[in-house]
C-alpha cells in the first residue's frame, strides 16, 4: 500500500476556485436575506449615522471566511472582490466604486495571512485579518473615496475604529467559529480546512 505524502500547494484547484466563489455568492444571499427581512440595516442607525460602521463587518466576512476555508494565497482578496461584484450586480448605491471597497477590504485581510506566510489559521489570525479588512476598508471610505466628506474629523476616526472593531468581531471571530462549525459537518472534507474543528484555537498546527 503506498501512502501519498502530505502536499501543501499554493496553486488553486478547481474545487478551491468554485468553493471560494460560492462562499462569496452565499454571503451575497445572506446580505440580501437580512436586508429583505430587516429592512435596510442602516435605517436603524439613522439617529447617528457613523454608528452604522458597527455592522459593516458583515460585508467583510467573505474575506476571512474564504481564507480560513480555502487556505490559499489570494483567497481573502478573491472572495471579498467577488462578493463586491455580486453586490454591484444586485445593485449598490456606490456603483462600480464598490469594487474598490471590495478590493481594499480583501487586501486588508490578505496582508495578514500573507504576513503569517499562509500557515496560521487560528483565532488570533482570523481576528487580525478581520480587523485589518475593516481598517483598510474604513480608511478608504473615509479618506480616499471620501464618502463622508461632511463628517467631522472625530466622526471619521470613530468610523474607522468602529469598522475595525466590527471587522474583528463579525469578520474575524464569527468566521472562525463558522469555519469550525462547517468542518464538524464534514462539508469541508475536500478542502485543506477539513479538520479545522480539531485544530487548536490559539496554537499552531504541526504538519
Amino acid at each position: 500500500m503506498t501512502t501519498t505524502p502530505l502536499r501543501r500547494t499554493s496553486t488553486w484547484r478547481v474545487a478551491d476556485i468554485v468553493v471560494a466563489s460560492v462562499i462569496a455568492v452565499a454571503s451575497g444571499v445572506v446580505f440580501w436575506g437580512w436586508n429583505a427581512s430587516y429592512g435596510f440595516v442602516s435605517l436603524a442607525f439613522v439617529a447617528f449615522p457613523p454608528a452604522s460602521a458597527f455592522v459593516s463587518g458583515m460585508w467583510l466576512f467573505p474575506a476571512v471566511l474564504g481564507a480560513l476555508i480555502i487556505r490559499k494565497p489570494g483567497a481573502a482578496l478573491y472572495c471579498e472582490l467577488l462578493a463586491a461584484v455580486i453586490s454591484a450586480l444586485l445593485g449598490s448605491q456606490w456603483g462600480i466604486a464598490v469594487l474598490i471597497s471590495g478590493l481594499v477590504q480583501g487586501l486588508g485581510a490578505e496582508v495578514i495571512f500573507a504576513a503569517l506566510r499562509y500557515r496560521l489559521w487560528n483565532l488570533p489570525a482570523a481576528m487580525l485579518a478581520g480587523t485589518f479588512a475593516g481598517l483598510f476598508g474604513a480608511v478608504t471610505e473615509a479618506y480616499i473615496l471620501a464618502y463622508f466628506v461632511e463628517y467631522t474629523a472625530g466622526m471619521k476616526i470613530f468610523h474607522v475604529v468602529a469598522m475595525s472593531l466590527s471587522g474583528l468581531v463579525i469578520a474575524g471571530i464569527l468566521s472562525f467559529v463558522a469555519t469550525r462549525a462547517l468542518a464538524r459537518t464534514g462539508a469541508l472534507s475536500a478542502l485543506p480546512s477539513r479538520r479545522a474543528n480539531l485544530e487548536p484555537v490559539f496554537g499552531t498546527v504541526r504538519p
Partner: protein
C-alpha cells in the same frame, strides 16, 4: 486523440472511439469516514459495453465512478494502489474523454444559457469553435431537447431537463466513456423515463462505453449488457448477465438484503389496521402559494382525521410541496381556510400559520425533502431533544419534562438503530440515516399531524421499508400522516387516501423567476456593445464623481444616463423598477450627512444633539446626488450586459485567468438557487421549532444557524459543481471559445461617450462654481 470522421448519421458518433475500462488490484482508502472506499478491484469492461454497477450503500460505487472520471483527488487522508485504466492509460492521466453525470441536477449545469452549456466541455478540450457550433444542435436532439433555443436560460429548466442538458454537453465532448452516478435519484418518474431514453439514445449514437450506478434497477436492466456488484470493503462480488437479476433467486435475495431495488420486488411491510378518529385539520377551498408574487394552486378541500393517512399526488408544478407547507402552518394560505380543530389546537387558536414555532412542533410536524435543511443541533441526541424542548418552552403544560425528553430520545435512538451515533454530528450520517433521523426529530415532539415531502425519493429499499414501518407506527399511535409523493407503493403500504392535484397552467408570458442576475439580456444597441467598453465608460464616469462632492456633477451624469435609455431599449418604468432601491439608498445617505454634516446657515430642524441646517442639508443633497450619479449608470450597464459575456471578454481580451472567471460565473449561477434555499431553510427550521421569538441573542443565534446551514449546502453544491467542471475537462489545458467578443468602432464610441460625460460633468461643476474636490 480526436480524429475527425465524416458521414455520420447525425454528427455525434465517431470522432473518438469507445475505450475499455480496466482495474488491476485497484484500491482506494480513506482515513475519514466521509467517503466510501474499496480495495483489490479487478475487472475489464470492453469498449462499448453497457454496465450496471450495483452494491450496498458504502461499497464505494460513487468513489469508483469518480476515479474512472479522473476527478478523485489525493490528499493526506487517502491511500491508493493498483491501476485503473481507460484504454491504455491511467484514468488519472486524463488522456481519454470521459463524461460524468452526478445525481444533483442543479450542479450538472455550468453555464447560464443552454447552447453555452452544451459547448462548455468541448471548449475545455480545445475543440475548434466551428466544430463545437455544429455539434450543439445534434447533441440537443439526441437528448430530446430540440425545442430549446441556444439562448434559453438553463435556470428555467426542470431537474430532468437539466440532467438531459448535462448529457448533451457530454455528447458534444465526443466521449469514449460515459459514467452516470444515480442520474434519476433526484427527479420525478416522468423525467426519469425521458432521461433513461436520452441516455440510451446517447450511448447508441456515440458508441461510448457506459457505466450506470442506480438503486432502481428495473429502469435500466434490460438495456444493459452486464451487471457488476461491488462487495462492501472490496472486490467484485458478482459479475453477471442482466437476466440473472430476474432468475437467480440467491442473487436476488442477496441484493434485496443490500437494499437494492431488484426488479419485481417490494420490501415486505407490516399490515396496518386503522380506525380514524377525531378530525384534526380541515381545509376549505384552500389555495396555497409560495410567495405573494407567485400564482396560487388549485383550491383543495380536505379533512384530516387522527390515525389516517393521506397522500397528495399530481404532476410537477401542481404545487404539491407548497400545499404541504401550507397545511404544515409554514405558509399563509393564499385563499380559503385551514382550520385546526380544538383537539389539535388546544389553546393555540385555530390558525396554524399564527402559531409560535414551539407550539407548532407539538401539533403539526413537517419533514422536508432534504433532511439537512432541518438539522439544528451539533449531535444526533441533541437533535432529537430539540423539538420537545422548544415545545416545552412555548407551553409549560406540554408535558415534556427533562426525564421524559431523555427517555424519548433514548427510545427513538434505539428504534432507529442510531444509538451508536448519538454523539455524531447529524450532517456526517449516511443518506439513509439522515432520512430516518429527520423523521424522528419531528416525531420527538409527538405532533398529532405529520406531513412529509417525498419521504421515499432516492431511498434504497431498506430505508424505504424503515420509513414505511415508522409511519405505520405513527398511525397506530393515533396521529395523522400526510405525504406528498410520486410513490404509489408507498401510498398503498400505508393504506392512504389519495388526492390528485391538477397542474395549474402558467399564465402566458410569466416565466419562472430567474433570480437577480439574468442569463440573457434583451437585445438593444447597448446590449450588442463589448462589455469591456461599457466597463471602461462607467469607470470614466465614476472618476470625477469620486473626486468631487457637489450636486451638479452627479446631476449631469444622471441626466446623461436618462438620455441614453433608448440605446438600452429601456422604458422609464422598467428603469425605475431596477433603480428604486438605489434611489432609496441615496436618500438614506443624504439624510445621514444632513444630520451630522457641518452646520451652516439657518437651522431648519433640531433632533436631539443634531441640527439640520441649510448648510448640512446642502451637504446631504450633494452626497445623495453623488451616490445616485455613481449608481444610476450601473443600472443601464447591468440591464444590457450578461455576466457571461463580461466574463468571456475579461478572459479573452483582458487575459484574466479563465479558471477564475468561469469558476466565479459558475458560482454566481447558484445565486438564485441559494436564495431560494435560504427561504426554504427558514421554513424548515420553523418546522423544527426555531422561531423568531425570544431575546435578541436567541434570535441572533437562530439567524446564524440559518446562515451556517446555507453555507453547508453552498459548499456541498460547490464541491459537486467543481467535480462536474473537472469532468468536463475544465482547468487543464488551453481552451477554445464558442463566442469571441468583438471590439469595433462602435465600442470605441461607447468609451468616447463615457469620457465625454465625465468631462462634461467635471467642467459644468467647475463653471458653475460647485466643483468641490474631496481631498482638499
Amino acid at each position: 486523440m480526436r480524429t475527425a470522421h465524416t458521414g455520420h448519421r447525425n454528427g455525434l458518433e465517431g470522432g473518438t472511439r469507445a475505450l475499455a475500462i480496466t482495474a488491476e488490484n485497484f484500491s482506494w482508502q480513506h482515513t475519514d469516514r466521509e467517503q466510501a472506499a474499496f480495495s483489490q478491484l479487478n475487472f475489464r469492461i470492453p469498449p462499448g459495453q453497457k454496465v450496471l454497477l450495483l452494491g450496498p450503500s458504502g461499497a464505494g460505487k460513487s468513489t469508483l465512478l469518480h476515479a474512472m472520471a479522473g476527478v478523485l483527488h489525493h490528499d493526506e487522508t487517502t491511500t491508493s494502489s493498483g491501476t485503473l485504466s481507460i484504454g491504455d492509460h491511467s484514468a488519472f492521466a486524463h488522456t481519454a474523454t470521459v463524461g460524468l453525470m452526478q445525481q444533483d441536477p442543479e450542479t450538472q449545469i455550468v453555464q447560464a444559457k443552454v447552447g453555452d452549456d452544451v459547448a462548455f466541455g468541448a471548449e475545455n478540450l480545445g475543440v475548434d469553435p466551428a466544430q463545437i457550433a455544429a455539434r450543439i444542435t445534434p447533441a440537443l436532439a439526441a437528448v430530446g431537447l430540440s425545442d430549446l433555443s441556444a439562448e434559453h436560460p438553463t435556470q428555467q429548466l426542470s431537474g430532468g431537463q437539466k440532467q438531459r442538458l448535462a448529457l448533451a454537453g457530454i455528447l458534444a465532448m465526443r466521449p469514449s466513456v460515459m459514467l452516470l452516478d444515480e442520474p434519476t435519484a433526484n427527479i420525478d418518474p416522468e423525467g426519469a423515463g425521458l432521461l433513461r431514453q436520452a441516455v440510451l439514445q446517447a450511448a447508441s449514437d456515440s458508441g461510448a462505453t457506459l457505466v450506470v450506478v442506480e438503486h432502481r434497477v428495473e429502469r435500466w436492466l434490460d438495456a444493459m449488457d452486464r451487471v457488476l456488484v461491488l462487495a462492501p470493503g472490496g472486490g467484485i462480488s458478482h459479475d453477471v448477465a442482466p437476466r440473472a437479476l430476474r432468475e437467480d433467486l440467491h442473487l436476488r435475495s442477496e441484493l434485496a438484503t443490500a437494499g437494492i431495488w431488484i426488479p419485481d420486488y417490494l420490501p415486505a411491510t407490516s399490515a396496518f389496521t386503522r380506525n380514524p378518529g377525531a378530525t384534526l385539520l380541515t381545509a376549505d377551498s384552500l389555495q396555497a402559494r409560495r410567495a405573494s408574487a407567485a400564482r396560487a394552486g388549485e383550491a383543495v378541500d380536505l379533512e384530516i382525521k387522527a390515525g389516517s393517512a393521506t397522500v397528495i399526488r399530481g404532476a410537477n408544478g401542481a404545487g404539491k410541496t407548497t400545499l404541504a407547507l401550507t397545511l404544515g402552518g409554514l405558509l399563509e394560505p393564499a385563499a380559503g381556510v385551514l382550520h385546526a380543530s380544538d383537539v389539535l389546537a388546544g389553546d393555540a387558536g385555530s390558525t396554524p400559520f399564527r402559531w409560535k414555532a414551539g407550539q407548532l412542533v407539538a401539533r403539526i410536524g413537517s419533514v422536508f425533502q432534504e433532511p439537512e435543511h432541518q438539522f439544528v443541533a451539533q449531535t444526533v441526541a441533541e437533535e432529537l431533544a430539540y423539538g420537545p424542548r422548544r415545545a416545552q418552552a412555548a407551553d409549560p403544560d406540554a408535558g415534556f419534562s427533562q426525564e421524559f425528553i431523555e427517555q424519548r430520545t433514548g427510545e427513538l435512538l434505539e428504534r432507529l438503530g442510531l444509538l451508536h451515533l448519538a454523539q455524531a454530528n447529524p450532517y456526517t450520517l449516511s443518506g439513509g440515516e439522515k432520512r430516518r433521523l429527520s423523521v424522528a426529530t419531528v416525531l420527538a415532539a409527538r405532533p398529532d399531524v405529520l406531513i412529509l415531502d417525498e419521504p421515499t425519493f432516492g431511498q434504497d429499499a431498506n430505508t424505504w421499508r424503515e420509513v414505511v414501518e415508522l409511519l405505520g407506527e405513527v398511525l397506530l399511535d393515533g396521529a395523522a400522516v400526510i405525504a406528498v409523493t410520486h410513490d404509489e407503493h408507498f401510498a398503498r403500504a400505508l393504506g392512504a387516501e389519495q388526492i390528485h392535484l391538477e397542474a395549474v397552467a402558467a399564465p402566458p408570458g410569466s416565466p419562472r423567476q430567474e433570480g437577480p442576475i439574468a442569463a440573457a439580456v434583451p437585445d438593444s444597441w447597448l446590449a450588442r456593445r463589448n462589455p469591456l467598453a461599457k466597463l471602461a465608460a462607467i469607470i470614466a464616469i465614476t472618476v470625477p464623481l469620486i473626486a468631487t462632492i457637489d450636486p451638479v456633477s452627479g446631476a449631469v451624469v444622471i441626466v446623461a444616463t436618462l438620455l441614453m435609455l433608448p440605446l438600452a431599449n429601456l422604458g422609464i418604468g422598467r428603469f425605475l423598477k431596477r433603480a428604486w432601491p438605489l434611489v432609496l439608498a441615496g436618500v438614506v445617505a443624504a439624510w445621514g450627512i444632513a444630520l451630522v454634516g457641518e452646520d451652516a446657515g439657518r437651522t431648519l430642524l433640531t433632533l436631539g444633539v443634531f441640527t439640520i441646517t441649510e448648510g448640512s442639508l446642502a451637504g446631504g443633497f450633494a452626497t445623495g446626488m453623488r451616490a445616485l450619479g455613481m449608481a444610476i449608470p450601473m443600472v443601464l450597464i447591468l440591464s444590457t450586459t450578461s455576466p457571461s459575456d463580461l466574463g468571456s471578454a475579461l478572459s479573452q481580451q483582458l487575459r484574466v485567468p479563465h479558471r477564475f472567471v468561469l469558476g466565479a460565473l459558475a458560482g454566481m449561477r447558484l445565486l438564485g438557487l441559494l436564495a431560494e434555499e435560504f427561504t426554504t431553510l427558514k421554513l424548515a427550521r420553523r418546522a423544527r421549532g426555531v422561531g423568531n421569538f425570544g431575546s435578541p441573542v436567541q434570535r441572533l443565534k437562530a439567524n446564524l444557524g440559518q446562515v451556517l446551514a446555507l453555507l453547508v449546502q453552498a459548499i456541498r453544491r460547490a464541491g459537486r459543481l467543481a467535480t462536474t467542471m473537472e469532468a468536463k475537462g475544465f482547468g487543464v489545458g488551453p481552451r477554445s471559445w464558442l463566442h469571441t467578443p468583438h471590439f469595433g468602432w462602435r465600442d470605441v464610441l461607447v468609451i468616447g461617450v463615457g469620457l465625454a460625460v465625465a468631462t462634461m460633468a467635471a467642467m459644468i461643476a467647475v463653471w458653475t462654481g460647485h466643483w468641490n474636490l474631496v481631498w482638499s
